[in-house]
Amino acid sequence: MEILRNLYRRRLRTGLTVLGIAVGILAFTVMGGMAEKINMIIRGGEAYFSHRIAVRSNGGALRLNLLTPEDIAALRQVPGVQEVETHIMLPLDESAGFELAPRFLVGIDLPNFLRAQTWSGPEASLHVARGAWWKPGEHQVAVLGSAVARKMKLGVGDLLTTHGTRFKVVGVLEETLSVPDGWVMVDQEDARGLMVDSSDLLKSLNLASFVTNAYALVDPSQGDKITDIMASDLRRGFLLFSPQQLAKAAGQATTLLNTAILGSGVIAVIVGALSVINTMFIAVGERTREIGIKKAIGATRSDIIREFLAESTVIGFLGGFLGVGLGALVIAGINWYTRDQGTPVFILTPRLAIWGMSFAAVLGAVAGVLPALRAAKLDPVAALREL
């Protein structure tokens, strides 16, 4: 109570200090919210790729990055490969400029896709939230990622037009907060048709069957070994990415992001701590006589230190609380805006909120140390002479 009353008595100064910390923590929360979202995409990618060796063709002289049925059959022959999942991937909207979360048209062979799902980890499986997968033999049908459905305001039964062709939406996937949210999944033959129609070269080649991406499903621990076998045994011209390589790349990206959060946290530390130190030093100066009285009564140094530290910790905590609150508002605002665009850009996770608040409280406590020590060292006789 005494702490709050002391702070209330100097409410303008306290308020400004709290606001200073709040701004720092606000930056921390918003930056952290973005990092959490990107971390989640990366984690989703890691889970997805932990069981997969990604295979593409380097395209050779023609730059046709295609894999043929013979290539897929060769991949299946490699010992340790349980299944080979094939995709034809096209940008969903060829005229789209920069997209925060790019969207793709993904052509799958449904039986092949569902078999592959049983081999990949549960966290990498895709589930239909509304509607259902199409029936074998059905064409011009699509299952949408959640972000695509939201952005394009499409539901089961609606029509989606892409690459000049209409698809009937038969299902919408559960939100993964990861890459598949931006997918439109269609039958592989339909996707192949779109690709051939858009390219005279492909038309003239008259290829019977091809895909753009293949994923060899393997036991995660065998990933590197099998990738090496593929590299030495298969024909040249494959681009192979082992799960470990992808995990390493993801790890680097995560480290970079976490450094960015830490960076904004450090700015919060410097700005916030300085203003708390300043406020608390002024408070010590103003309350010299009060400290003298308390010491005369019998307060020990540690009693005085404890009182001042408690006060600066409360300032820090209030700043953290306000900062996380404002951060939540900003994040909600931006997400509301971008949700309309398809996908939330920021995620305020509980751990981020708890981190923000405890970080601010610890910051307040640390910033209070010097002023508290000065208060504790005051000579009671000199302090009592102050009026």
């Binding site: 006589r289 009060e290 308390k294 010491k295 009564i297 019998g298 020990t300 009693d303 009671p380 009592l384």
Partner: protein
């Protein structure tokens, strides 16, 4: 003797000699005044007797404890258990209510909040402030503030109560009432009271008055106390 000082000196930098061999003895239950002009060293003496300051030389003994030999760590504890203070004015912590101000020594004594509340309330009743317990110092008159300060000085049942110009900021009538109250309370509890003042009104209330001049005791009437 409750309080004994022997050859107490206090030197400040630049050779200023604030106290120059002061010796005095105060018996248990005595009401003693220390008078003198400004700069005579009476406040310095009070600070040393109250263990707020250390002498440059000499000894001080309170209730049998040689306080001049205690380390800095033990002085706050000694003040907490054996001493009570009333200062001139602005005695109270402005952000605390009268009740919380009176509870302060008990808080530092780690008395449970419930017991502290009861004791502080009793101390405030004893000074006639039971209906002002939840008021902040700014909501109390000067006399009421000093009465709350007296309640705080007595709440930990100290053996020795020290006061520095307790009536300095009060009008004559209020000062008289306050002194009468102080006198009654300390004698009821058998406490020893030492007051620094230049107010003759205060002097007249004392059992005896020690007069100081230029850092020395000029006149010291015999202690009337038996022990």
């Amino acid at each position: 003797m409750l309080l004994e000082a022997e050859g107490v000196t206090k030197l400040y930098p630049m050779g200023v000699r604030a106290l120059d061999g002061v010796s005095l003895r105060v018996g248990r239950g005595e009401f003693v005044g220390i008078m003198g002009r400004s700069g005579s060293g009476k406040s310095t003496l009070l600070h040393i007797l109250g263990c707020l300051d250390r002498p440059s030389g000499g000894n001080v003994r309170i209730d049998g404890v040689e306080v001049t030999r205690l380390s800095d760590r033990f002085l706050p504890r000694l003040r907490l258990h054996k001493l009570g203070f009333v200062f001139q004015a602005h005695n109270l912590v402005p952000t605390l209510t009268a009740l919380e101000n009176v509870s302060l020594p008990l808080k530092y004594l780690r008395v449970s909040p419930r017991a502290a509340y009861e004791k502080a309330r009793a101390a405030l009743s004893a000074v006639g402030l039971e209906d002002r317990m939840q008021h902040l110092p700014s909501q109390l008159s000067g006399g009421q503030q000093q009465r709350a300060a007296i309640a705080r000085a007595l709440v930990n049942d100290p053996a020795l109560v020290l006061a520095d110009e307790p009536t300095g900021a009060l009008d004559t009538q209020t000062a008289r009432e306050l002194l009468a109250l102080l006198r009654r309370l300390v004698s009821e509890r058998g406490q020893t009271f030492v007051v620094v003042t230049h107010d003759p009104l205060v002097g007249r209330q004392c059992d005896r008055v020690i007069t100081m001049e230029d850092g020395r005791v000029k006149e010291i009437p015999e202690s009337r106390s038996g022990d």
